[in-house]
């Protein structure tokens, strides 16, 4: 279906990524935000606090991020498309209830405008060091979807997309921005509502007594939702459960429940995948990057191409699930992957795992606080094919 016009601020603007993300959320149908202020993400919450009363949304500033994440799940079971927004320290606090959302299969969006860590780290400066936390941060086996925008325009477009993916797969979608993208101001075009595709929540329509809140049979099994208050008398728990949602504490139930959580995402990776490829055919080196680093990398790639090197790029828009089959395939034809990221080596581990020794994998690390010097990436490209 198309976006509800009430939430779409059609027009051309100069916006930073944080504000664009807020507009994307509203356009994407979000009507509940629970959050707690933290640099550099606060502007998202502030804009929602201003905009929501005029578009029929609920904004609540909670007492902390534990509460924010828990409230999001509650609001989703009430029927609202919901989100929260934070940065490193708050993201850490959200992990337990992010696990709850994954277990309850709650469609929701969690925005993390990444800053330098660990701990309080660099509150005002950029980082990309929460990428593994996004994937593994809560205990136990589960899967999420994570997107990484590289411009304010994408902060708008991909936030809409994040809500759509969350509804399609009934899963928390982590919107992994970074401080640079959050605070850079660029032109953002917000189209007419009838040009914005919005995935409606899949609500159950059958007989009340036949409703099962979960469906565990295979990769293609996302059960429709109902809302509390509609007379279904659902029971939803963070304990291992059966398709009725009832707790079952044994190994067989665990196998069904957890395998389902993982397979519904991993087995559908190619359907979920959004990656941007450029000149990878015939390339000797492929630079794999995401977020702000993908823009810095372009400078290095251009310089390398000027020097006559055959360099391709892959930009991970969906970082999780990782595009495993594509990297495996490319590893057969390229000599090396170069992976610049603003951390000391996270997504590079995935690239290396998928390359499986068939192509070299070279990390261009940056501890955070600023973006790479393109020269460092260029050097790595040159080094990689020596």
């Amino acid at each position: 279906m198309k976006a509800d016009p009430i939430g779409v601020a059609t027009g051309s603007y100069y916006l930073d990524g944080d504000h664009a993300c807020a507009e994307g959320a509203i356009a994407g149908g979000c009507r509940f935000l629970a959050g707690y202020p933290i640099t550099p993400s606060t502007e998202v919450a502030e804009r929602m606090a201003e905009r929501f009363p005029k578009v029929g949304g609920v904004f609540i500033q909670m007492e902390d991020e534990l509460a924010s994440m828990a409230a999001v799940s509650g609001a989703v079971w009430a029927g609202a498309k919901s989100m929260t927004v934070t940065s490193g320290p708050g993201f850490s606090l959200m992990m337990e209830n992010l696990g709850l959302a994954a277990m309850m299969e709650v469609p929701c969006v969690v925005v993390n405008v990444q800053r330098g860590g660990p701990s309080t780290g660099l509150p005002t400066l950029t980082g990309q060091a929460d990428m593994m936390q996004a994937r593994w941060g809560s205990h136990g086996d589960y899967e999420i979807i994570a997107l990484s925008p590289n411009s304010p325009q994408e902060c708008f477009d991909l936030t809409v997309k994040a809500f759509n993916l969350s509804e399609e797969w009934r899963v928390p979608v982590l919107f992994m921005m970074d401080e640079c993208v959050g605070h850079m101001t660029e032109k953002v075009v917000i189209p007419n509502a009838d040009k914005i595709d919005v995935t409606p929540r899949k609500f159950y329509k059958g007989k009340k007594e036949d409703y099962r809140p979960f469906k565990f049979n295979g990769a293609d099994s996302v059960a429709p939702l109902v809302k509390a208050g509609d007379g279904y008398f659902i029971h939803i728990t963070g304990l291992t459960h059966d398709e009725r949602g009832y707790p079952v504490i044994n190994a067989e139930a665990q196998e069904k429940n957890v395998t389902h959580l993982v397979n519904k995402i991993l087995k559908n990776e190619e359907k979920i995948r959004i990656i941007e490829e450029n000149q990878v055919e015939g390339a000797d080196v492929v630079v794999v990057s995401y977020g702000i680093s993908s823009r810095v990398a372009m400078k290095a790639v251009e310089s390398a191409r000027e020097k006559g090197l055959k360099v391709g790029t892959i930009r991970l828009v969906t970082v999780w699930p990782f595009p495993e089959s594509r990297i495996r395939e490319l590893a057969k034809s390229v000599k090396a992957f170069v992976v610049p990221e603003i951390n000391l080596g996270q997504i590079v581990l995935e690239v290396e795992r998928c390359a499986n020794g068939e192509a070299k994998t070279i990390l261009v690390p940056h501890a955070g606080g600023w973006v790479h010097d393109p020269i460092d990436i260029l050097n790595a490209i040159e080094e990689s094919i020596k």
Binding site: R31, V58, G229, G238
Partner: protein, 304 residues
């Protein structure tokens, strides 16, 4: 030895149940999940029964009532109630319930959980939900310990009481929960014990009908852990203790309702006042500020 003169054989045959013979509360219980996990003579079952009776008495439509629990023996309550019921994480029942209540303003949302869940790990959420006067009904089952994990000390364990992590007795000051609730902003505050079933049922009915943040503390026997460790006897002995030591004092000053180890327990309705709920205050305020521009939240029908 002479032969028995009366033949009891007949009384041993269990009659076939008549059709429609159902426990009067059966429709509110997920009996397909029985046997439940609670120990025999634990107070939690009694409290769940009182909750159902209170709900019936309140006249609320069960379809419009949801229950959220945290984690603990008490936190299993949600799992046995045939209502929209959610079993969240330890301490986070209140914020989960906040999302549920704000997301569907037609719902009356109860939180049924333990003293540790609500007052220790969830303590911050407790005071802030009360401060905001979110439309929530809190049923806090206080068994003076962390029962689910084996009887550790908690935020309400009385001074000197023994728990597995206070093996020489507790030397931390406990919370006075009604005082905490009132000073944080609750509009309805009561305390009863698992013995006071009739009064508790009335209190639950009243609290369910009360808009805003209502809080009922229920002192409840944990014969398996707290009572055993402190050599307080059986569940029945604990009930007898409640009978002898509970004094009803409606309107008592909540500053003076502290609980000391095995001393008197002041019970009653302490607070019942009116104050706009979070949602009412927000809508009134934003209407005043924004006029026609204010678009109140509507629960989505389909789609978004």
């Amino acid at each position: 030895m002479s032969e028995p003169t009366t033949d009891y054989t007949d009384t041993l045959t269990i009659p076939e149940p008549k059709e429609n013979l159902k426990h009067p509360l059966e429709s509110y219980i997920r009996s397909e999940r029985f046997p439940h996990i609670w120990c025999s003579s634990c107070g939690i079952g009694t409290i769940v029964t009182a909750y159902i009776s209170g709900l019936q008495k309140s006249g609320l439509d069960p379809e419009k009532v949801a229950v959220v629990s945290g984690i603990g023996c008490s936190g299993r309550a949600a799992g046995y109630l045939r209502l929209d019921s959610f079993h969240s994480t330890h301490g986070r029942a209140l914020p989960f319930a906040t999302g549920l209540a704000l997301g569907n303003p037609e719902l009356k949302v109860s939180v049924i959980s333990g003293d540790g869940d609500i007052a220790a790990i969830g303590g911050n959420h407790f005071i802030h939900s009360a401060r905001r006067n979110i439309d929530l009904n809190i049923i806090c089952i206080n068994n003076f310990n962390y029962a689910m994990t084996g009887g550790q000390a908690g935020p309400t364990t009385p001074l000197e009481a023994n728990a597995s992590t206070t093996p020489y007795g507790c030397y931390e000051y406990p919370f006075n929960l009604p005082f905490l609730a009132e000073s944080s902003g609750a509009v309805y505050v009561a305390r009863w014990t698992a013995l006071h079933i009739r009064r508790l049922t009335n209190a639950i009915s009243e609290a369910l009908q009360k808009p805003g943040f209502s809080f009922i503390e229920i002192i409840s026997p944990c014969p398996t852990l707290y009572a055993r460790r402190n050599r307080l006897g059986t569940g029945l002995d604990t009930m007898k203790f409640y009978h002898d030591s509970a004094t009803i004092q409606h309107g008592a000053d909540t500053r003076e309702v502290d609980i000391e180890y095995q001393k008197k327990i002041i019970v009653g309705k302490f607070v019942d006042k009116d104050k706009p709920t979070f949602t009412e205050a927000r809508d009134t305020f934003l209407n005043k500020k924004l006029g026609d521009q204010y678009v109140p939240y509507r629960r989505p029908n389909n789609g978004h």
